[in-house]
């Protein structure tokens, strides 16, 4: 990719992110001011409007990284690796939201900050796995080796997730836990549903904007390194 193209992508990404940020503000406004309070859970239920969409974007990001890792080992195209790495970093940002708003919702509604249910445990380990992914990338200098090794982790992670899910499921069925209200199970009334769906859309948009920016950043850094190495030789 040429410098001009990458810069165009960066500009478009920034634009998309800006639009998504404005839309996020609108979602905040709608969720906080114009969406009715749920009767049993109280205001804390509204956390759900940011928590679930952030979790969705985070997991989407990691799934994209995993699938692109498979694709990289097949095609060996550096661009694929750069998108995978971009998605992994963006995913970490969303995961931080997911892992902080989750307990903030759980404490008032479940009565506990953290519970080792399948969903929480899986997401925690996916998060940790991708922290490892980033650390590994940072420890390898050669871009081609970095791409191959992080792809291996991406693929292993993709396969690991269902196993962790299954592990926790088996663990839980042996030790029944206090009744947990599953978020999202009761059908939400219209107003709330619209807020939630809008938020999902906005977070997806935000993911795409971040991804475009981060990918453009990766490409630009790559080009800069290339220029530097050309200047040396």
């Amino acid at each position: 990719m040429t410098r001009e193209k990458a810069e165009t992508l960066a500009r478009r990404g920034t634009l998309l992110t800006s639009v998504a940020l404005v839309a996020l503000a609108a979602v905040y406004l709608r969720a906080l001011m114009f969406t009715p309070v749920e009767r049993f859970q109280g205001p804390a239920q509204k956390i759900f409007y940011v928590h679930a969409p952030a979790a969705w974007s985070g997991l989407l990001a990691f799934a994209v990284t995993g699938l692109l890792s498979v694709l990289y080992l097949w095609l060996r195209d550096r661009k694929v690796d750069l998108v995978a790495a971009a998605s992994a970093e963006v995913g970490l940002a969303f995961s931080v939201i997911m892992l902080t708003t989750g307990p903030l919702w759980g404490k008032p509604v479940w009565g506990t900050w953290w519970t080792w249910d399948a969903r929480l445990t899986s997401t925690l380990f996916i998060f940790l796995l991708f922290v490892g992914y980033q650390v590994l990338r940072g420890a390898i200098l050669d871009p081609e080796t970095r791409a191959r090794y992080s792809s291996v982790i991406g693929i292993l992670g993709l396969v690991l997730v269902p196993f962790i899910h299954m592990t926790v499921y088996l663990f839980r069925t042996l030790h029944p836990d206090p009744v947990v209200m599953k978020p999202g199970s009761p059908a939400l009334p219209g107003d709330m549903l619209v807020t939630l769906l809008t938020s999902f859309g906005v977070f997806t948009l935000l993911y795409l904007g971040f991804l475009a920016q981060r990918y453009a950043l990766g490409v630009l850094r790559d080009l800069k390194e290339e220029e530097a190495s050309r200047a040396v030789s």
Binding site: L73, F125, L128, L129, V131, G132, V135, L136, A139, I140, T145, R148, Y149, S151, V152, I153, I155, L156, G157, V159, L160, F163, I164, M166, T167, L170, F171, T173, L174
Partner: protein
């Protein structure tokens, strides 16, 4: 296929011969295992928690952490004088190399487990007679699972900076299914309960073994220099 097995056998034999001669990793792993077993015995409130209650967890923390020491050095050997280049120049498939390294690591970890298991029974005074074959079987299944992934990861981390820190960071998430499964099964066995109670765990362990041994075998090629 026969050539591949012979090559794997040759590589495993070479690794074990070297390990036997130097013994540094084996001695440190064993010492480490004994230390962990002893320390974990005291990591509880003796008036509230019996040793046997923490025994399954203690056993598996010991096994996995001691194994990590062995895994860390598995590819240092090949890295030292770039002996891996010599292996790759021979008509040997990457899969055969992986199986050879895996086999050597399994023997290494198996030896550590074999020595620490009687110590564990002694230290924690666990009532185990009938359950011993079952415990050995569970140990074999769980060990295969994490040593396979560990061997693959070890081949990558030796080529990175901070290799010793990197392996636990990357490997620990993959320990969750096999180790949780093994701890659950071990607890049943120590409580003298029938293994049918943990059928789900056995299936999970078996599935993990099949999936991750296969996956690691084929991903290994991508960890070699090219």
């Amino acid at each position: 296929m026969r050539d591949a097995l012979r090559a794997a056998w040759t590589i495993a034999g070479k690794d074990l011969a070297i390990e036997w001669r130097t013994k540094t990793a084996l001695v440190s792993s064993l010492t480490f295992a004994v230390l962990v077993l002893a320390v974990l015995y005291f990591a509880r409130d003796p008036t509230a928690v019996g040793a046997v209650d923490i025994a399954p967890g203690a056993l598996w923390v010991t096994f996995t952490f001691a194994a990590m020491i062995g895994l860390n050095r598995a590819f240092l050997l090949e890295r030292e004088n770039r002996a891996m280049d010599g292996i790759m120049l021979a008509p040997v498939s990457p899969q055969a190399v992986f199986f050879g390294k895996l086999a050597a690591n399994l023997v290494f970890v198996g030896t550590v487990e074999l020595v620490s298991l009687p110590l564990f029974i002694l230290f924690y005074d666990v009532p185990i007679v009938r359950g011993l074959p079952a415990l050995v079987g569970i140990t074999a299944m769980a060990t295969l699972a994490f040593v396979a992934v560990g061997t693959l990861l070890s081949s990558m981390v030796v080529r990175t900076r901070f290799a010793e820190l990197m392996l636990p960071l990357l490997l620990l998430p993959f320990l969750v299914p096999p180790v949780v499964g093994a701890v659950q099964a071990t607890a049943r066995i120590l409580a003298d309960r029938p293994l049918s109670e943990v059928e789900g765990w056995l299936k999970l362990l078996a599935a993990f073994d099949i999936v991750f041994v296969t996956l690691s075998t084929f991903l290994f090629e991508a960890t070699l220099e090219e």
